[in-house]
Symmetry: C2
Subunit: 146 residues, 2 copies
DNA sequence: CTCCATTCGTTGGTTATACCAATATTGGTG
DNA sequence: CACCAATATTGGTATAACCAACGAATGGAG
């Protein structure tokens, strides 16, 4: 029995189904990240560093949609684990430059695998064609407003 | 700019898009409920009462997937607003019987309208055919595992 | 150069959701 | 009766997401 299964009017409410599916995906992702000693913010930040190179914390926050204060905490954790390096920016002494370390790159690869595995687990009941359909429909929804 | 828009590998990750869509839907729902002096739990509980008639708090919790302790709090709030009535069960004095009041029925109608409006807002970019497709795909996902 | 607004990192909160544990009361079963 | 299960309730925890305020530093307008 899942949240709201006993309420008939929700079974045909797309927004509710989206929330249900998101909850499941979120649980699986959180569990997978936790098993790799990480969490969602870490994955986002590592991926952003990988794709855009060394960045200030504010840049990371804007790119990932994470509040500056939460970036501080996540970077603290990852710096302590040597996944990233934090050093002051010579050209702008307000900023820190965050750099991905070798260990950070390796960790990101592991997390990419975790995410990939969860994609497969969640999408398992769908055929390739259906997955493409779903991707297209969701992209349309997200591009529009969210 | 939305959460994770600056991370390319997420734009083609269905689970991420689902989470994004769910966040948007969740925000809209929370805002809509708040504008009606309610929140998600209230809607779930009122809907369950409407569909199944008077129930104990434990029944409500099981049907809605809400923890018993959270049911207590939500029922407290709704009883204070005269949306439901809480009285001890004569046949089983462990239980309370929760009953929907007239005002509760009216409130539920308002919340149903709120939810309906949000469905339309979220699904706006999709044609009728696409909405049916999405509903089908999501149902498949949710039925399967979550 | 001076003043002012802005940016940045950081600390220290708040809120809402979703849990979990413990308790007293009652019900049902042997 | 003795025992276990279910119920309502209190209280607490963890987490994500967000917000406010601060000092230090920067940049631009005059």
């Amino acid at each position: 029995m899942h949240r709201g299964d006993g309420v008939a009017r929700l079974r045909n409410a797309p927004t509710w189904l989206i929330k249900m599916a998101a909850e499941r995906a979120g649980r699986l992702l959180a569990d997978g990240f936790a098993a790799a000693d990480s969490r969602g913010y870490h994955y986002l930040l590592l991926a952003a560093l990988d794709e855009h190179g060394p960045s200030s914390q504010a840049e990371l926050g804007r790119r990932c949609g994470i509040d500056r204060s939460d970036v501080v905490a996540a970077i603290n954790e990852m710096a302590a684990a040597n996944l990233v390096e934090r050093r002051p920016d010579e050209n702008d002494r307000r900023r820190n430059v965050i750099t991905l370390t070798r260990a950070g790159s390796r960790h990101l690869k592991r997390l990419d695998d975790v995410v990939g595995g969860i994609q497969d687990a969640v999408l398992e009941p769908l055929s390739d064609r259906e997955r493409q359909q779903l991707l297209r429909l969701l992209a349309k929804l997200v591009d529009h407003g969210g």
